[in-house]
């Protein structure tokens, strides 16, 4: 039997944490792009496009992420796509993130005075220019704190991808735990690593919130 020293445990966990970070980044960037598209539909002038977008958001906010991941993992192969845990995890988290980010940014758009739209129109800008030059920059800037807050939630959510077999921090810790029988130490360390990743972001979000309140 292989003996695990504490250093072995920490080293293996840190190596696995790379995948947690990578998956979080991929899901955040992917979710941002898809979320932007959902946002366009959500704030469009067409009633049906708004309804479809709010249905999309309600669907992802009203079902467990674990179920969404299972549906990705078992559903995409039915469409004839070969799927690995990594693709299922990244895609699942991307759609999950897109729904939340779209809703956060929509709240930013809704918070802007209507005069901003009128001013844009009176300067002769068309709809897309108004969005790109006037509305979205302001909406992003006032929703920066909840966006960072959601990133923390997303990092924590990557833990669930261990269940569909993606080899990240939690899955590695399960394997190490099965070999060492030291759950207290192993899961304690995993919690610590997640804390180190999330806490600075939480503090940053809090600072942004204070700045926004002071303004």
């Amino acid at each position: 039997m292989i003996e695990f020293t504490s250093w072995d445990i920490v080293r293996n966990l840190l190596l696995a944490a790379r995948w947690t970070v990578l998956l979080s980044l991929a899901a955040f960037i992917g979710g941002g792009i898809v979320g932007l598209i959902v946002l366009f539909f959500r704030i469009a002038k067409n009633k049906w496009s708004r309804r479809i977008a709010s249905g999309y958001i309600a669907l992802f906010q009203g079902t467990p992420l674990l179920m969404q991941l299972f549906l990705m993992f078992f559903g995409l192969p039915m469409l004839g796509l070969r799927i690995e845990p990594w693709t299922a995890a990244a895609l699942g988290l991307t759609f999950f993130a897109s729904a939340y980010l779209a809703e956060i940014w929509r709240s930013g758009v809704a918070a802007l005075p209507l005069g901003q739209w009128d001013a844009g129109a009176s300067l002769g800008l068309h709809y897309l220019q108004e969005l790109r030059l006037i509305i979205l920059p302001q909406a992003f800037s006032i929703t920066r704190a909840p966006t960072v807050g959601f990133l923390v939630q997303l990092i924590k959510s990557t833990a669930l991808t261990s269940i569909i077999g993606f080899e990240e921090l939690v899955r590695t810790s399960n394997a190490i735990n099965n070999a060492t029988f030291e759950p207290f130490k192993v899961y304690g360390l995993v919690a610590l690593i997640f804390f180190i990743m999330c806490f600075p972001l939480t503090q940053y979000a809090r600072r942004l919130e204070k700045q926004a309140a002071a303004r």
Binding site: T63, P64, M67, L71, F195
Partner: protein, 218 residues
């Protein structure tokens, strides 16, 4: 897509959904109570308690629920605390939810104007009465929508406790798909059940809140 297995599975799905509802009911009650104590302690307790509560909130909010659950279920036995899966799940869910609701309840307590406390004290109420009868009801009314969202989020998060073999909705889905080999259809149906549960739970909480806390609760 094939759903021939569904009629025979309805009993299991209903049983799982009932366990999920039990879990969230216990968590909501225990979590809200704990967070009221926590928020009050964080404002009026001794300095050490204040710091302990602040640490607790930060640790819980910055680590994944799944890891907290594994820590409680697999880690605590090495300290001699051995829990049933369902008890471990209830404990983990309550502790997790309280960390979020302590902040929410605290915000509500801060939002009640200080004049309310002064007026109640001037009427001769004891400090505890002031808190329970004057400040807390007003605070709960203010934060009720945020509390409702947190309960729904926790209900969705409870899917994770299937991983320690609590026989709730997701666990039943895992068992069903292992039996029927219809993974996608099984999870699809169960996802719809979750969607219905979360919508019903939200509606129930809003109408219950209107009755208990009066009009103006959304």
């Amino acid at each position: 897509m094939a759903f021939a297995w569904l009629p025979g599975a309805l009993g299991d799905i209903a049983h799982g959904a009932a366990t999920t509802i039990l879990l969230i009911a216990v968590t909501t009650l225990a979590g809200t109570l704990l967070s009221i104590l926590g928020a009050a302690g964080r404002r009026n307790g001794p300095a050490l308690l204040k710091r302990a509560i602040a640490c607790y909130v930060e640790v819980m909010r910055n680590t994944p629920f799944l890891v907290q659950l594994f820590f409680i279920f697999f880690g605590l036995p090495s300290l001699g605390i051995r829990l049933d899966p369902i008890l471990a799940a209830m404990l983990a869910m309550t502790l997790n939810m309280a960390a979020y609701t302590i902040e929410i309840v605290g915000a509500g307590l801060d939002a009640v104007p200080g004049g309310q406390t002064e007026a109640a004290l001037a009427l001769g109420l004891r400090p505890r009465q002031v808190f329970v009868k004057i400040v807390l009801p007003q605070a709960l009314k203010i934060i009720y929508p945020a509390l409702t969202s947190q309960v729904v989020i926790m209900m969705l998060e409870s899917a994770v406790v299937s991983q320690i073999a609590v026989r709730e909705l997701t666990y039943e889905a895992d068992m069903l798909q292992a039996r029927t080999f219809r993974s996608f259809e099984t999870y699809f149906v169960v996802t719809l059940v979750y969607l219905a549960l979360s919508m019903a739970l939200r509606r129930l909480l809003v109408s219950g809140g209107r009755r208990a806390l009066g009009a103006g609760v959304s």
